[in-house]
Symmetry: C2
Subunit: 433 residues, 2 copies
C-alpha cells in the first residue's frame, strides 16, 4: 500500500519550525509495519495545496494531511479538500456543539471564526479530536483515501494512534493485533547491536517479527514490531524473542519501552530507600539536570555539587586542599565521593571528574572520565557510616560536546549498573583504551 | 522566482532522523529574501527520485536537492540526475585527485567505492565541498536549475552559503549585497515585539529592509534582512533602523547575532574580572549546565550547588537549618545567596529557589521563582567581604517543563541585567502578577 504525507503551513515551509510531525508520523507507521513513500510540504496557499492533494490523489492509496484545520483565514484544509473532491462544505452540527462545550468548560464563549472548524466536506468521515477544536476527517480524492489531521502535535498524535492507524492497517489487509517492544541500550554501536541480534527475526518463522534500530547518541533504540492474530498470539511470539534480546544485549539494556535511563536510576534509588548526591565538573550540572527535576526526585536527590576547575572540587565537598588537575588518582576521586557522602548525608554519591584535553575544540579532543560511586559499606544497603566505593575510568574522544554528553551517559549508566547489581566496569564501544 | 527543495534518503523518509536540513535551508533562503514554494521528501529509491526531479523540473525555476551524494549503493543522486537530464556520467578528474588527497591527509587509502562520488552528469557545473568527499553540482532538468548538495549538515551549510545562495540571488535578479541582523530577546511575546516594532521597515523607504521573527520559548529572535548596492549602502540603511530596534526593545535585548544569553553573561563576568557561584533547586543544574561548560568558564565558574528540597538548601550553603518550604521570604533567599558567596569565594552568586505547585503536572501548574544575586558591596566591583543583594520574584505558570525552562531563562537574564547595570526587576509578558 502506497502512503503519502502532506504537511501544510507557512511556518513549516519557511523553516520557522522544524517539521517534527512528519518524522513522528513516519516512525509511527514504520512501527506498525507500514511505510511512507512520499512526503510533500506546502504553505498556506490555495493553489499549492490543491496541486499537492491532486498529485497525491493520483499516486497514492492513502494520504495523511497535517495542518490547516485551525480557525484562522490561513487555515485552508477543509476548503481545498472540498474543492479537490468536487463537493461542498457542510456544517457538522455535532462538532459545533462539542466545540461550544469545549469553550464553555473553560468559561469562555466560542469566537465566531471557530465555526469554520465544524465545516467539513460533504460526505467526509468525521475523525474525533478529544483534546482540541480541530476535528479531523477522511475523504476520497482521486484514487486515494485522505486523512486530514490537526497540526498541534499532541492532537495529531492521539488522532493518528486512535483513528488513522487502525484504518490504514485495515486498508492494508494487516488485520489482527500489533505490538511494539523497545529496548534502550548504551555502550554498543548500532552495527554492533545489529550483529549481536543476527538471526533474531527468524526465531518467529512466519515473518511476524521485524527488527529495527534508531540511534540517538549516546543511546541506541532496538525495536521489535510483532504482528499477530490477537494479543495471546503476540505474547506467544514475543516471549522467547524478547528473552533472547535480553540475553544477547545483557547488561547494556538500560531501559525498556517508555522508560528513560534517569527514570530507571530514580526508581532503583526509591526501591532501595536510597538517596543521592552528585559531584560534577565538566558535565557542569547536566547529570543532575536529567534526574533531579523528575517527580519523586524531591525525596531522593539530596545535593548536587559542581566545580568547573578540578582543584576546586575538594573544597566544595569539605576536603582539605588537594591537587587534582595534574595528578588525578583513583584514590583521590574515591575520597571526593566519600567526602560528598559525609557532607550531604546521601546514602549514595555519584562523582564524575573529567580531565578535559586542552586547546581549541576539535574532533579528536577527548576527556578522561573518572567515576566513583560511594555507597554504604556492608550488608545494610542504605545505612550511614562507613563508605565503600565503586570505580570506573574511561576515555571518550570526539570533541567537547561529544565528551560532555558521553560522560553524563556513562556516569548515569554506571550508577544504574551499580544499583542493579551488575558490573560497573564493562568495555563499551565508545571509549578509547 | 519559484524555488523547491527535494530531500532524499530513507532515514529522513522513515522519520529515523528529523529533517532539520529542510528547515535550515528554508530559513537561510528567507533570510536573504528568497522563498521556498514546495518541499518533497523521497527515499533512496530510483523511481521516486526520478519522479521528484521531473515534477520539480516542470514547476520550478530553481531546485535544491539534498542527500544521496555518498559513496554507497543507496546514494543515487548523480545517477538519477543524469537520467532525468538525459545525459551520461563522466569522471571529474580534478575531484578524484582532491578526494585522494583528502584520504591521504588522514593517512588512509581511498576505498574504491568513493570513486563514484567523482562521477558527475555530463555538462554539470561543479560545486565545491571544501570539507568532505561529496562534491555538489548544478544541472538543468526541464525548465529548472538544480543544485545537488550533500546530506551532512555542516557540508550542506557551507555549500549553501558559499555556492548556492549567490547563484540563486543572481538568478532572481537580486544583485548587490545582503545582510542579516539578529536580536535575541526574552520577556516579550512575539506579538508584543511585533507591535513594538510597528513601522520599522518603513524607515527605509525603498523596501530594502524586511522584518521577521522566530520564537523558540523562552526567547524571541527578531531578524532584519537588509538589501543594498554594497556594504556601505547596507551600513547606511541598517544604522538608524538598528538603533531604533535597540531603543524600542531596550533592556529586553539579551544578545545579538551569534551571541547566546549564557555567552553574554560569561563575557560580562570575564570583563568585570568577576567569578560566579550558582544555587539551584527545581532547575536542578540546568542553569549551571548552560554556562559552566563553555570555553573560558573554567576561570570564572566557582561552584554550583543544587538541592531539590528547599529545606536542604541552607545546609548545602553552610547556613544553620532554616525552614524554606512553607515560609519563604526575600530575607531568607538573600541570606542563601550571601552564604553561598562566603562559602564559594565567588564575587557573584545567582541563587534561584523555586516553590513548585504540588500535584500532577498540568497546564496551569506553576512555580514561584525567588532570585537573589549576591555581589560585592560598595564601589569595588569584584572585592570580597560584605555582600549586597539584588532581588527578583516572579510567578511562571504552564506546567513543570515550562516553569523549569522559564525560571532558568529568567534567572540568567536577571544576572545579565545586573551585570549590564540594567534594572533587574522589569515586568515580562510570561509572568503572572
Amino acid at each position: 500500500m502506497r502512503i503519502e504525507i502532506i504537511c501544510t503551513g507557512d511556518e513549516v515551509l519557511t523553516g520557522k519550525i522544524i517539521n517534527s510531525n512528519f518524522s513522528y508520523m513516519a516512525q509511527k507507521l514504520e512501527d506498525v509495519g507500514l511505510s511512507v513513500h512520499w512526503g510533500t510540504t506546502v504553505g498556506d496557499d490555495r493553489d499549492s495545496l490543491l496541486d499537492a492533494l491532486r498529485l497525491a490523489g493520483e499516486r497514492a492509496d492513502a494520504v495523511i494531511v497535517n495542518g490547516g484545520l485551525g480557525p484562522t483565514v490561513d487555515d485552508l484544509s477543509q476548503e481545498i479538500a472540498a474543492l479537490a473532491a468536487d463537493v461542498g462544505l457542510v456544517l457538522d452540527e455535532a462538532w459545533l456543539v462539542r466545540m461550544e462545550e469545549f469553550f464553555a468548560r473553560r468559561s469562555r464563549i466560542m469566537p465566531p471564526n471557530n465555526r469554520k472548524q465544524a465545516m467539513l466536506p460533504e460526505g467526509a468521515e468525521f475523525l474525533d479530536n478529544p483534546i482540541g477544536t480541530a476535528c479531523g476527517f477522511a475523504l476520497t480524492i482521486g484514487r486515494a483515501r485522505f486523512f486530514f489531521t490537526p497540526g498541534v502535535p499532541r492532537e495529531l498524535r492521539r488522532m493518528l494512534e486512535e483513528q488513522i492507524i487502525p484504518r490504514l492497517l485495515a486498508m492494508a489487509g494487516l488485520q489482527g493485533a500489533i505490538f511494539l517492544k523497545r529496548f534502550h541500550s548504551y555502550g554498543l554501536g548500532e552495527s554492533h547491536v545489529d550483529q549481536l541480534l543476527t538471526g533474531i527475526e527468524a526465531m518467529v518463522p512466519d515473518g511476524g517479527v521485524k527488527l529495527g534500530f534508531r540511534a540517538h547518541y549516546p543511546q541506541i533504540e532496538t525495536k521489535l514490531t510483532v504482528r499477530g492474530r490477537d494479543d495471546a498470539d503476540i505474547r506467544g511470539k514475543l516471549g522467547p524473542i524478547e528473552a533472547e534480546v535480553r540475553a544477547r544485549l545483557g547488561n547494556f539494556i538500560l531501559a525498556e519501552d517508555d522508560q528513560t535511563l534517569e527514570g530507571v536510576v530514580l526508581a532503583a534509588l526509591i526501591a532501595q530507600q536510597a538517596s543521592l548526591a552528585v559531584v560534577e565538573t565538566f558535565t557542569a550540572g547536566a547529570i543532575a539536570a536529567r534526574l533531579a527535576h523528575l517527580p519523586g526526585a524531591e525525596h531522593v536527590f539530596r545535593r548536587g555539587v559542581i566545580a568547573r576547575d578540578l582543584d576546586l572540587v575538594p573544597g566544595a565537598v569539605g576536603l582539605p586542599p588537594m591537587r587534582l588537575s595534574d595528578a588525578m588518582t583513583q584514590e583521590k576521586v574515591e575520597a571526593v565521593a566519600r567526602a560528598a557522602r559525609d557532607a550531604s548525608g546521601a546514602s549514595h554519591v555519584l562523582a564524575v571528574l573529567i580531565e578535559l584535553d586542552t586547546g581549541a575544540d576539535r574532533i579528536d579532543l577527548g576527556g578522561t572520565v573518572w567515576i566513583a560511586i560511594a555507597h554504604p559499606a556492608g550488608a545494610v544497603p542504605t545505612g550511614a557510616g562507613q563508605s565503600e566505593v565503586a570505580f570506573r575510568r574511561s576515555r571518550i574522544v570526539g570533541g567537547r560536546e561529544w565528551v560532555r554528553l558521553g560522560a553524563a551517559e556513562l556516569a548515569l549508566d554506571c550508577l544504574r549498573r551499580f544499583l542493579q547489581g551488575l558490573p560497573v566496569v564493562e568495555r563499551i564501544d565508545f571509549e578509547k583504551v
